[in-house]
């Protein structure tokens, strides 16, 4: 399952990142790593981007970036 498929209010644990290069690196640098706990907080008023609660802080990413994050429900 990928992160963009989840609805606001759900929680999950990250299992993998499926993208390399600057996007992958940036995701990892902001704290996306296997085992990180993620809560989907809310979508933006125009649905995209989405706000997440990740290991104690808030971060927002676009849906087409969330696609690259594999999670376990």
């Amino acid at each position: 399952m990928t992160l963009d498929e989840l609805k606001p209010g759900t929680r999950c644990v990250m299992s993998d990142i499926t993208v390399d290069g600057s996007l992958g690196q940036r995701l990892m640098d902001l704290g996306f790593y296997p085992g990180a706990e993620i809560e989907i907080v809310r979508n933006a008023p125009l649905v995209d981007p989405v706000e997440l609660h990740l290991d104690g802080y808030h971060v927002s990413i676009r849906h087409n970036e969330a696609k690259h994050i594999e999670v376990d429900g």
């Binding site: 990142i17 390399d20 600057s22 996007l23 992958g24 690196q25 940036r26 995701l27 990892m28 640098d29 902001l30 704290g31 790593y33 296997p34 085992g35 990180a36 907080v41 809310r42 979508n43 933006a44 008023p45 125009l46 649905v47 995209d48 981007p49 706000e51 290991d55 104690g56 802080y57 808030h58 971060v59 927002s60 990413i61 676009r62 087409n64 970036e65 696609k67």
Partner: protein, 832 residues
Amino acid sequence: MGTKNLLVALAGQPNCGKSTVFNMLTGARQHVANYPGVTVEKKTGFFDLGEARVELVDLPGTYSLTSYSLEERVARDFLLGDNPGVVIDVADASNLKRNLYLTLQLLEMEVPTILNLNMMDVAERRGQVLDVEKLENLLGAPVVPTTAKKGIGDDALREAVSRLAANWPEKAFRVDYGPLEETISELEGMLAEDPVLSVQYPVRWFAIKLLEGDSEAVELLRRTHPDFERVLTHTETCRERFKEQNDNAVERHIAFVRHGLCARMARETVALPEERYRSISDLADRYVCNRYLGPIILIAILFILYEVSIVFGGWLAIEVWPIWGGLENFVADILPQAGFLTDPLLRSLSVWVVKSITAILNYLPIFFLLFALIAVLEDSGYMPRMAFILDRLFRRFGLHGQSTLPMILGGVYVGGCAIPGVMATKAIPDERARLATILIVPMMNCLAKVPLYLILIGAYFADVGGLAMFFIATVTLFMALPVAKLLSMTVLRKRASAPFIMEMPPYHVPTISGVLRRATERIWLFMKKIVTVVAAVAVVVFVLINFPGLSEERRAHFDGVRDKAVTTFVKQVNKTQYTGQITEANVTDVILFGEALKQAKRGIKDKEKSAAVNAEFEAKNPVYYAVVKRVGKDGKKLNKALKKVIKVRKKLRREMRAERFEKSFLGSMGRALEPVTQWAGFNWRINIALLSAFAAKENSAATLGSIYGIDDSGQSVQDSMKAGESGFTPLHALALMLFMALYPPCVPASIMVRHQANSTKWMLFSIGYQTLLGLFVSSLVFTGGTLLGLTGFQAMWAFYALCVAATIGMALIPTPEEKEVKSSVKATTETC
């Protein structure tokens, strides 16, 4: 050497309170510049530490130290190139796990690091208990807790700096990368062969960077290693071997190991409360980022921003104007006296330059309020929320959620200024979107475009003034958005587009001192950057509009008219008791005496003071005083005659100015451009007005004024323009308004574009494309409107519909990123 110098760097992730630590250590002793060659701001401060004088450099806030972003590269280069004696790594104590990620990388670079756990009060409030001693043992580096906002921990931090500077154990911290360790040692051995690299850089760190595939590290290796090809080939083999054996890319393995270690360290040193802490920020965001309330709050905030800075600031600018006016008068006073027809060059040039500068200084109150309000938005943490709400909309046009503020400042409705607008693009992390924003901000309606709109609407759309104003105020956005998309699909296509991964930090209440400090810093930077260049450009423009000047014949003609008027006046004088006391030579003095008296009494309402000024002038020259103040029968008579002379002087000066203008270099350009601009309906007179607007847009209205010969009294500009251009129709006016809307950035704004885009090429592009676009649009409207037989009003709304259609059309074209995603989705579904 009496005192020692110590270089200390301040590192840290964004939103860790780094700037409060900086302020706590340095107080007010700081200055802002840029890192060499890039637009990244470099803040430097100083403080004394016992014997030593410490120079503290604030590194850009970064989550990591890779070579992917400019800020990270800058921070890394400073740490390795400038060799700071101590690095203070500021971390948000309430968010230790994530912040440790940077700490580990600093320690791996083998720089002498102090971990500063800042914002301890927040951690405490959230019920977290940190074991500082244990963390110190785990990291092998000093750890100092502070609450910089309240000045707590200041001394401890200073002491730690001085201890570490004196004695650094050089016991390198190692992250255990498990299966990768063998490969790292292999590479280390190869790198040790390089005589330059192995001395300048920590070898283990460099080996890890090479394995991560870091482009800068590879580049460096190419330059210094005698056998770089062998090392690179070996690195590549190692990377591939590792990926095969471990089913994970090396860079991913490295990041995951680091994160795993951070998580473990945090678990061992931080006692978390039982329940998850719900902060006030979470609660607030429920409303601020809400689907319905969010946009409303956003609009309300932008409205307040506009009202305070532009409307209230505009009022304040008028109130403050006497200061700048006083400056102008002061300069005029100390310069050589004005002549009857022409002034000495030194005087006219200096007055021109000073006026160009005061025209910009006039906006200072607006800028100050703007900068202060932006600082409030930044410090409070609202900026990321704004980007969050609007990103989807702006992304459709190749812009970014954070393009909102620059566009508002530029004047998305009416009245703004491109200079702070372009300045505010700094915050946009996406290079492509940032450049696109820089290029469209000058298309917004800045304050200085408004006078020309008002003249044209007053003259040609008077009956539908409100609608016409609405048209020009809103059509700019519908021109800018499609253009932004077009630019990002063409010239900007190759520019790096960064992912939108943005931290939403908790809200903060901004402090007054922090906001004022930031606003003052920016105003100062602005003054330094802009004012000097404006002065230089003013000189060039002065030459362009005044030279080569009038021919001998014309000058003789004007002299003749002058002499006649003067002689008539002197004849009158000789019929009175003042005979012989005013000659042809000092008629100018009488006029200037009168002007000086008027000037001296400006703003004086008090009767006694006014009488004192009168007495002073009477003592200076009783004869002139009598004429100017209509003293006695002769005084009255001569005053009437003097008024006639003054009228002639004014008329002659005006005519000479208009003629000088036509004959000037700029005038020749205006005429030369007529064959091109005729399609837009502009004749050479309009061309001159438009050319003169490049220095500052206010000039367009002023130049039209001097071309059509208006003075302080009498007809308004719109009336004299109507009278002067009998062939002009509303269609002409519409084309002119649209050209003004698309007018290239004025000189100060161009300088800002150059500064923010960090390239002269982009500045020239910005000027060039807007000029061409403006010509194209105004020609389209004028020639098209003429061919279709449309009235100005009809053409206006036809064009509006065209722009809205273009905006919608452009929004429907998928962005390169969307295409990428679509194709990848397609690929995966096909393989399934």
